[in-house]
């Protein structure tokens, strides 16, 4: 909300502070000022001049030479403006002065434009006459300004006086950010009240008195509100003998500063009152209201209505309509109809000041797709008590501005008004909540300024109706805090029972995952939780793959963000692809993020959110590098038993011969593998890519940070090497399983030290060599112990069709 300081000062005349002080103080008391601008920025040495004589330029057809009286002297100015004549009073910038912009009305230069005396085609020119654009404004705000040429004042301005003053540009326009609970502050009066309380200056709201004629409004109009829940109050008044014309300059200036274009006296009055009181008004041409009757009712599904902007609007039964005896004449709180629009020949006007159900207006405006200044205010839920005062203020202005006369009486239809909120005055509880020691007297001073009434007999506080946000003692405490000053409240730390700060086990494991991934060269990425349903095809999933059962967002930001991911793969591959396309070499990324597994669809209960530890890489790496990272991580979280890899992982998106489930104590923790070349193609990654995914809810129960020292072996170890010729399809994992099963208690370790396929080995076989270590914890091993164990191992291996080479 933008408002000129001069308008605030109309109600708080004693206000005396710099713009910056005003901004800071208002922000600290809760009316946040986003910023301010000065309409007289870069306007210097500009006075009202009167053109006394115009002559042709001797050397230029399009220029004229003017003698301009600027009060103290007469100066000569050469201009090309087509619209000036002798006797005109115009703004004149003197030698060395400044204007805000050029005559074409383009963007304003930061430093303005300096005007210097000089010669134009050989004739001296000692200043410049200004257009409204050169003064930093435009015809929207100054509708009386000519389309081309110099701004011309009315006769009432004094020659030689400050032209900027005469234009009403010496002002500051503040931009406020009003919080949604302070409906009362979406008005000049509301802000002025806050300003008065902030600076502890007296507040003088407008005094509303209406001079009515002898007629009775009941002879002009009747009002029937059929849905009082959606329309708690409807006030109507009638004005006759309307004479449409421009509104006075002071009103135009105030509206312009608020960003509202002055139109004519009638429209300007309704806008002015909307700004001043925060109460939107509507004016109907009474002659178009059939039966001189207003009916407030819901529309019917499928109705169509043409609003005053000429657009057809589709309605439904939840939209509240203003109707006459025969037809709809306006969408309540949103926009009037074309059929009852005010035109310049209007003679009798029906004013409406109503309050509507805020939520209903908000929803209707959204459904219809039409949000207006009025609906923006109504949707906040206006105070019904404000409507009467506002409509009277409008009528007062009609008379004061000579715009027409006001018919006696008001039609006022409303439900029972809500009772005012009354709370006991509890100064101690406010201090206790705030941690302050504000005196009772200071509190009462504050309440007085913001119109909270104190009853000393009952020791109660009564809230004004415009403060719909004051309902409980904590709300009162906030009022005390705001005007006592948040900055004056002390700073302390909570005392009381000591608590232990901690990171839960699951998060400690995740921290470890980050550490290990980073030690292994992986950097952390973050991916969105939602993705496109098309990713399942991109990942080559079967039609019946359970991962396709994803949660759908009802109102997504387009298809690409429409489902909650059930796999972390797409995010990782997309990130790798981004890097690949940008020619980044050797990229290793990891991500810790949830996937969302529905228990049933459509969703009836919350889904299973499963944290996935996803690793992905391409470049200088292979399958076993990835396997190493997985094992480093599992070992770091105390999972030191044998990890088993099952090549039958069944993942369509992985290379069929280069994938494995990661199994720990019989439980599948996740999988790793090389990404299927077809999937790589789908992501435009033209190199081998590896991924690993660990399902953290499965991993965490196995994890532990407990460590136990097991002693360092006292007795020597015995190592035996074996070399084998192994059928190609036997995996070393199978050989290791035999070594483990048959090695007995004394088996300490085994290491693969050679694997070879090729020339010296017969077709269909490979050479594999292991170094096996035995050790006993209680004695030095004897030859017989070792050879016994070895024999068992060798027998087992031979049973698998493995030949021993030595």
């Amino acid at each position: 909300m933008n408002t000129a300081l001069s308008w605030i000062k109309a109600y708080v005349p004693d206000l005396n502070c710099t713009d910056q002080e005003y901004m800071d103080a208002m922000t600290l008391s809760g009316t946040k000022v986003e910023g301010y601008s000065r309409p007289d920025k870069n306007l210097e040495k500009i006075v009202v001049g009167q053109i006394e004589k115009i002559e042709k330029h001797p050397d230029a057809d399009k220029l004229i030479v003017c003698q301009v009286n600027i009060g103290s002297e007469v100066i000569q100015i050469v201009t090309g403006a087509p619209n000036v004549k002798e006797g005109d009073k115009v703004p004149v910038v003197l030698d060395g002065g400044k204007v805000a912009g050029g005559h074409d009305g383009g963007p304003l230069p930061e430093e303005g434009i300096v005007i210097k005396a000089g010669k134009l085609r050989g004739v001296a020119s000692n200043g410049m006459m200004c257009s409204i654009e050169e003064l930093g404004s435009d015809r929207n705000m100054y509708p009386e300004a000519p389309e081309m040429g110099i701004y011309i004042f009315g006769d009432d301005v004094e020659v030689g006086s400050d032209a900027i003053e005469a234009l009403g540009l010496h002002d500051t326009v503040f931009e406020y950010e009003i919080t949604s609970n302070r409906v009362d502050c979406y008005s000049v009066i509301g802000i002025a009240r806050e300003a008065a309380a902030t600076f502890r200056k007296p507040f003088y709201p407008p005094v509303v008195r209406v001079s009515e004629n002898q007629e009775n409004v009941a002879d002009y109009i009747s009002v029937d509100v059929q849905d009082q829940e959606l329309c708690p109050r409807y006030c109507a008044r009638v004005c006759t003998n309307i004479k449409i014309g421009p509104s006075p300059k002071w009103m135009q200036r105030r509206l312009a500063a608020s960003g509202i274009r002055p139109i004519n006296n009638l429209v300007d009055i309704t806008n002015y009152v909307m700004e001043e009181y925060g109460q939107p008004m509507h004016a109907y041409n009474l002659d178009t209201i059939a039966g001189h009757k207003i009916i407030v009712r819901r529309a019917k599904d499928g109705d169509v209505f043409r609003t005053l902007d000429g657009q057809e609007r589709k309605l439904d039964a939840d939209v509240l309509m203003i109707c006459d005896a025969e037809k709809e004449v306006g969408i309540a709180g949103i926009m009037g109809g074309e059929n009852s629009m005010i035109t310049d020949d209007v003679t009798t006007v029906l004013f409406e000041a109503a309050t509507f159900n805020g939520a209903n207006i908000r929803k209707s405006a959204r459904r219809i797709g039409l949000r207006t200044d009025a609906s923006g205010k109504f949707e906040k839920g206006l105070d019904p008590c404000n409507a009467e005062e506002a409509i009277n203020r409008a009528c007062q202005l009609i008379v004061e501005l000579g715009c027409g006369e006001v018919v006696g009486g008001i039609v006022d239809v409303h439900a029972r008004m809500k009772e005012k909120v009354v709370l006991p005055f509890e100064p101690d509880s406010y201090n206790k909540l705030l941690g302050t020691n504000v005196s009772k007297e200071e509190m009462l001073d504050i309440f007085k300024m913001i119109e909270i009434e104190y009853d000393p007999e009952k020791n109660t506080l009564t809230m004004p109706t415009f403060r719909q946000d004051l309902l409980r003692q904590c709300d009162i405490a906030e009022e005390v805090a705001r005007f006592y000053g948040y900055d004056r409240i002390p700073t302390t730390l909570p005392n009381g029972e000591a608590t232990t700060g901690k990171l839960p086990f699951k998060l400690r494991i995740e921290q470890k995952a980050r550490d290990i991934a980073e030690y292994c060269g992986f950097s952390q990425g973050m991916c969105y939780s939602f993705e496109s349903p098309k990713v399942f095809d991109k990942l080559l999933l079967d039609a019946e793959d359970p991962a396709r059962k994803a949660i759908t967002i009802a109102n997504p930001l387009g298809e690409d963000f429409s489902i909650m991911r059930t796999l972390s793969l797409n995010g990782m591959l997309t990130s790798l692809a981004t890097n690949y396309n940008r020619r980044n070499k050797d990229v290793r990324l990891y991500e810790l993020g949830n996937i969302y597994i529905p228990k049933d669809l459509p969703l009836k209960e919350l889904p299973d959110e499963r944290m996935q530890f996803t690793l992905g890489m391409y470049g200088d790496c292979d399958f076993f590098v990835m396997k190493g990272v997985v094992e480093e991580f599992l070992e770091s979280i105390g999972m030191r038993k044998k990890i088993v890899y099952d090549p039958k992982a069944g993942k369509n998106f992985l290379h069929p011969g280069r994938q494995a489930n990661i199994i720990y104590e019989g439980t599948v923790l996740g999988y790793l593998g090389e990404v299927h070349p077809g999937v790589c193609d789908n992501y435009d990654i033209k190199t081998r890519t590896y991924i690993a995914v660990l399902d953290m809810p499965t991993v965490v129960p196995f994890a532990t940070f407990d460590r136990k020292y097991e002693g360092i072996a006292k007795y020597p170890a015995v190592t035996r090497d074996i070399s084998m010729v192994v059928p190609e399809d036997i995996m070393v994992g199978q050989i290791e399983a035999v070594i483990e099963q048959r090695g007995g208690k004394i088996l300490e370790d085994y290491q693969l030290f050679d694997i070879y396929e090729g020339d010296q080995i017969k077709e269909g076989f490979k050479s594999v060599a292991y170094s096996i270590t035995f050790r006993a914890s209680d004695k030095t091993l004897e030859e017989a112990d070792v050879s016994g164990a070895m024999r068992k191992i060798l027998n087992g291996l031979e049973g698998m069709g493995i030949e021993l080479r030595s």
Binding site: G358, A359, R366, K432, C474, G496, S523, G525, A554, Y596
Partner: protein
Amino acid sequence: MKEKLEQIKAEAIRQIEASDALEKLNEVRVNFLGKKGELTAVLKGMKDVAPEDRPRVGQLVNETREEIEKVLEESVKKMEKAVREAKMKKEVIDVTLPARKNNVGHRHPNTIALEEVERIFIGMGYEVVEGPEVEKDYYNFEALNIPADHPAKDEQDTFYIEGDILLRTQTSSTQVHEMEKGKLPIRMIAPGRVFRSDEVDATHSPSFHQIEGLVIDKNITFADLKGTLAEFARELFGEDTKVKFRPHHFPFTEPSAEMDVTCFKCGGTGCRFCKGEGWIEILGCGMVHPHVLEMSGIDPEQYTGFAFGVGLERIALLKYEIDDMRLLYENDIRFLKQF
């Protein structure tokens, strides 16, 4: 005999001094002191010495041996040193050649900021907790004093799934879960992902992160809120950081505030970074609304508390001077490597 020993000694020392390699010294050792060496031979000849002379001769032999050994040892040491030095002279390397690094990966700036925040609050006795990202309307809105018709619930802002299930728009939902556990006092922070229906651009993302804070105990005051968050700001942004609390409105706190910190680039004098204001808005906070306490079964007459919510991305963007939020979700390694 004595002369013979003197002779042997002199010859040994001569040979030692003439040696120019460790092997030669070893030869000397073998020749004179070894099993078949000259001194050993003398000892073997002891049987020819008169029994009464034997101890004296034995002593002489030993003395000679010791003397030779001493000289030999010194020479060996000297020679070893010379050999090592010669070797090292040949081993000079160019220390400016490139390092061979492990190429350790990098944490995401969000995580770096989050771990900072966690460290600060864990130090103050807060527990880190988590809540669901797919959430019930009740926890995200209603129990936080945002009733059915509140504008914040507009479809414009919230992603809905089905019925009363939605994507949480704020980590404040975790407050409610924590209060419902019925364990008091509470000091917690709840970091996590939240979702709002905003198109992706330099300053918006449909998914981002917040850190919620909640303290509930007897006698918690607004002054405690101020003190705690001022401490937090100093820890996070530096000892000289000042804070400013401005009144604000949140449905689930009353009184409510927004906290600004002095600009960490200019220190509060005003610069381009803080748009000349000297202050940067950092978080929203307030005293937990008594109705919120009531709804979660806590008696507001006995207990009070404060809550705050920080945007993680906001902190990361400000602290690391990242100018475009999209960078946080692109995962370009050239971006990540800078953290």
